[in-house]
Every structure is written in structure tokens, then in C-alpha cells.
């Protein structure tokens, strides 16, 4: 092939490689490393869901479903959102079943962005938001959040970003990578600000069930938010179904219609057996979800205490399954810290800078791992921090 001109589109060539790729390769060659860098549950999908997928295959349900997902699952998602968060959606016009929450994010951006439209993205954030925005023709505008505010985005932060032609606000609470959650009042002021600017609010609430402090408030449930909000959720985290690739979006009919159009042209529909499994876990696994939440909560308390005991500042994460301690006191960059910790003590964490520039000075430690591994990982990390100086 000739190399004078790249065959790869400039838009793709210009995307920065993910900050975690390099780590992945390092850790992969270290089989005895303890990984606190995993962004998925260590639990297996509740058997009820696995069993119904097997049954679905036995019955020969191997065909496409309707583009928007099966009627039964859309109805179950609508009643789940009503039951858990008090928001009502029409299952036919306002709910779309997607290939993971990840597809829903992509669809939302592609459905609403015209070339050059800006998307405000509170950071630290999930690594896909900026590249997905770029791929959809938009311009990502990072909005740094601060540990002093417990990493909750403030209307003043959004104002300070001074975005040109803002079209949408894309945020994730409970947050990956910080574990931050938004309270009702925080959401009210953000929604008010978004309404003033007439923005679409894309609320990635994939971690909604993993809230340890009394219960999640959905952005879509805030008065005035519903008709400008695309609420995104999924089965990966709460029901430990990452490998099934199944999520959903709920929102006003015009936006869901636009997303469904893109979805129909690109993937047709989400996998059939995964939809059948999801229907069962959604209606029958509340106890399993509660047990997993209880277990994560115990680990959360352990990891936060150990991080503080080793001398690191760690804000109290109240959701998801991550702690986000400050490593600024060590004088190392987050990447240096993570790389040396891995080489010297064989513990993998993710450098905060992978989640946006304002994540520098922090590392993400996942507690989606057994307590035994967590305790060993913390002991090794304490040794390392003791050596480099906290």
C-alpha cells in the first residue's frame, strides 16, 4: 500500500488513542498483577437471566426483534423507570433498546448534532464521550469539575466553559471515574441552566442502581427536564451483564424517533437473546441487585478507609464502583504513579488523566473485585505510597 496519503479518515486519525490502552498492554503481560483497573462487575449475570437466554435459544428465538426492541422489554423498561425513579415514558414512542448504553450515547449525539455543535462534557468522564462527539461531527467542550465540590458539576462551571454554539450537555452520575453523585438540588440548578441555554441533556445513568447514599435521583425526574433529556441506562452494571451489550434510552418522542432511525440503519436491533434475558432480570432480580449493592458498599468503605490510612486524600465516592484518590502529594503525575505502581508492586489502577485533563493528580481505583484482592492491592499500594512519599 502507498503511504503518501493515509487511508484513514482525518477525523478518525485525529482521535487520541485511549489513555488506558498502554496500560492494558502492560498489565496483560503481568498475570499475577492485582487489577483495580477494571470497569465492569466481578459478579456473573444472575442465573435467572442466563437461564432465560438459554431457554430463548432452545425455543429458536434467533431472529431480529423490532428495531426499537421487543414490546415486552420496552414496557418493562418503562415500568422500571416509573417504579424506581418516578418518570413515566410511553413504551412505544419514548423507549429505545440499544446495544449497550454505549450505543445509546453514540445515537444521542448523532441524532442531535449538526456539524460544529458543541457538547458540554463535565470531566473527569468516561473515555468515550469526547471521541463519540467528534465522530458525530460535534465539538467536545470539557467542563472541569472539582474535588472541592465532590466532583458534582455546578452551573457556574458550565457557564465558565463559554461554549460556542452549545447544543447538548452530556453527563454521567453516579460518575465513572470519580464515584460522584448529584443530589436533587445540584440537578435542579444544572437543569435550570440547560433550559436557559435550550440544551439537550444527555444523562448517562448507567450506574443508577449503584448508589450507596439513599437512592439515585434521575436528571429526567427534575421538573422541566423531561422534555429536553435523553435518559440512558443499561444492564451492564447493576445486573452484571457487560458482555451481553444491552442498554436503553428514554426521552421525548422526537429525539427517540431520530435515534431509532440511526439505530435501525446501523444495527437493526439489539441482540434477541440478550433482550429476553434482560426482561427477566428487570422484573425478577431485585434481591440479587440489592445483594451486589451491599457487597460493593462494603468494599467501598474498605477501599476509602485504606486509601486515607495510607495518607492519600480521597473524597467520599457515593456511587458506581470507583474511588478516585488524589496522588498529588506524591509529586508524581497520574501516569507515572500508575506505571510505577504497576511495575514496582504489580497493582493496576487507571491514571486520572485518562478521563480528562482535570483528572490529572488522581487515579481511579475500581472496587469491582473481591475483598481479598482489594485488601492485598491496598497493602501493596500503601507500601508504594510509603516509599514515594504521600
Amino acid at each position: 500500500m502507498t503511504t503518501s496519503q493515509s487511508r484513514v479518515a482525518r477525523r478518525v486519525a485525529g482521535l487520541a488513542p485511549s489513555g488506558i490502552r498502554k496500560f492494558f498492554e502492560l498489565v496483560e503481560r503481568m498475570p499475577d498483577a492485582i487489577s483495580l483497573a477494571i470497569g465492569e462487575p466481578d459478579f456473573t449475570t444472575p442465573w435467572r437471566g442466563r437461564e432465560s437466554a438459554i431457554y430463548s435459544l432452545e425455543k429458536g428465538h434467533t431472529h431480529y426483534t423490532p428495531n426499537r426492541g421487543t414490546q415486552e422489554l420496552r414496557e418493562a423498561v418503562a415500568s422500571y423507570l416509573e417504579r424506581r425513579f418516578g418518570i413515566s415514558y410511553h413504551p412505544d414512542r419514548e423507549v429505545l433498546i440499544t446495544v449497550g448504553a454505549a450505543e445509546a450515547i453514540d445515537l444521542a449525539l448523532r441524532a442531535i448534532l449538526d456539524p460544529g455543535d458543541a457538547v458540554l462534557i463535565p470531566q473527569p468522564c468516561f473515555v468515550s464521550y469526547p471521541p463519540c462527539t467528534v465522530l458525530a461531527g460535534g465539538v467536545p467542550v470539557p467542563v472541569p469539575t472539582r474535588v472541592e465540590n465532590d466532583f458534582r458539576v455546578q452551573a457556574a462551571d458550565l457557564e465558565a466553559a463559554r461554549a460556542d454554539r452549545p447544543r447538548a450537555l452530556l453527563m454521567c452520575y453516579p460518575n465513572n471515574p470519580t464515584g460522584a453523585v448529584m443530589g436533587r438540588e445540584d440537578l435542579e440548578s444544572v437543569v435550570r441552566w440547560a433550559a436557559e441555554k435550550d440544551l439537550v441533556l444527555i444523562a448517562d445513568e448507567i450506574y443508577a442502581e449503584l448508589h450507596y447514599d439513599g437512592g439515585h435521583v434521575s436528571a429526567a425526574a427534575i421538573p422541566g427536564a423531561r422534555d429536553r433529556t435523553i435518559l440512558i441506562g443499561g444492564f451492564s452494571k447493576a445486573w452484571a451483564m457487560t458482555g451481553w451489550r444491552l442498554g436503553f434510552a428514554a426521552g421525548p418522542p422526537d429525539l427517540i424517533e431520530a435515534m431509532a432511525k440511526v439505530h435501525a440503519y446501523t444495527v437493526m436491533c439489539a441482540p434477541t437473546m440478550a433482550q429476553e434475558a434482560a426482561l427477566d432480570v428487570l422484573t425478577g432480580c431485585d434481591d440479587e441487585v440489592a445483594a451486589m449493592r451491599r457487597e460493593y458498599n462494603q468494599r467501598r468503605r474498605i477501599i476509602v478507609k485504606r486509601l486515607r490510612d495510607m495518607g492519600l486524600d480521597c473524597f467520599e465516592p457515593r456511587g458506581a464502583f470507583y474511588a478516585f484518590p488524589s496522588i498529588a502529594g506524591t509529586g508524581l503525575s497520574s501516569e507515572e504513579f500508575a506505571e510505577r505502581l504497576l511495575r514496582e508492586e504489580k497493582v493496576a489502577v487507571v491514571p486520572g488523566a485518562a478521563f480528562g485533563a482535570c483528572g490529572e493528580g488522581f487515579v481511579r481505583c475500581s472496587y469491582a473485585t473481591s475483598i481479598a484482592a482489594l485488601e492485598e492491592g491496598m497493602a501493596r499500594m500503601a507500601r508504594f505510597v510509603g516509599r514515594v512519599g504521600g
Binding site: 492494558f24 487489577s35 465492569e40 468515550s128 445483594a291 462494603q298 468503605r301
Partner: protein, 159 residues
Amino acid sequence: MEDILFALEEDGRLTTAQLAERLGRPEKEIAEAVAKLEADKVIRRYRAVIDWDKAGAERVFGFIEVRISPQRGRGFDSIAARIMEFPEVHSLYLMSGTYDLMVVVQGKTMREVAYFVAERLAPMDNVLSTATHFVLRRYKVDGDIMVERTENKRLPVTP
């Protein structure tokens, strides 16, 4: 209280310090709560779940369906009280359905269990009939799966 019970049901060896850390409560409070749960017999005891097959020990379990005629005024309780005192009786349940008591009998050999049924259980007053079923393999016991399973791998780093 419930959070302590959930944690101890999962791992009975947790110390009060560990419980305090995991549940985010002061150790003194945990210690008092555990003492009260023990005193009230909510927590009856702490013990290990042992895979006796793996330990190489001979243990045979028989599930014995027992039909009895209840005694006036005392129902099934007085005969149950007589049966449960035998050390061979591992568990005892009053059942709905076609029989009355499910007696789980533990012995070293099938013969030992069968003798216990024939010599002790069957001849009791009010016992109308017994049907003995021997356990061939224990797949899951009290919530613990006893067969080996492969560990699932996850990618070591994911966003």
C-alpha cells in the same frame, strides 16, 4: 442489625473490627450489636462449611419421609421432639404434602443409616410409614455450590 447478619451469614469469621470497617459503623457499636444477637440466639453459632467428600471422610445422608399420626392436643411436636434428639438426625422438618416429617439422617455408611431407620425411627409409636432416599451427590448445600467451577476471566483494564 440486618447488615451485620448479612455480612456474618456470608463470612462468620469476620471480626468486629472488620465488620466496623465494612459497614461503616463504630467498632464498639458493632460489638454490642453482635453480643445482643448472640444472647438473643438470633446468631446461634459460627461454623465452617465443609466438603466432606473432598476431605475423604465417609458421610452418607438419607432423606427419610415419615408419615405419622399426630397426637391429640400435641400435634406433631412431641414426636418431633423425640426424633430430633438423636445425634444421627442432621435436620428435621415438618412438611406439607403427602408425608409429615422430613428427617435427614447422617451416618458413615448406608447400612448405618438404614439400621437407624429400621431400629429407631420406624418402630416409634405413631409412625405409620417411612421411605428412605439416599443422597448420591451433593451439588449445592445451604447456598454453597459444591462442584468445581472454572473461574471467569475479565480484561485486566477496561474503561
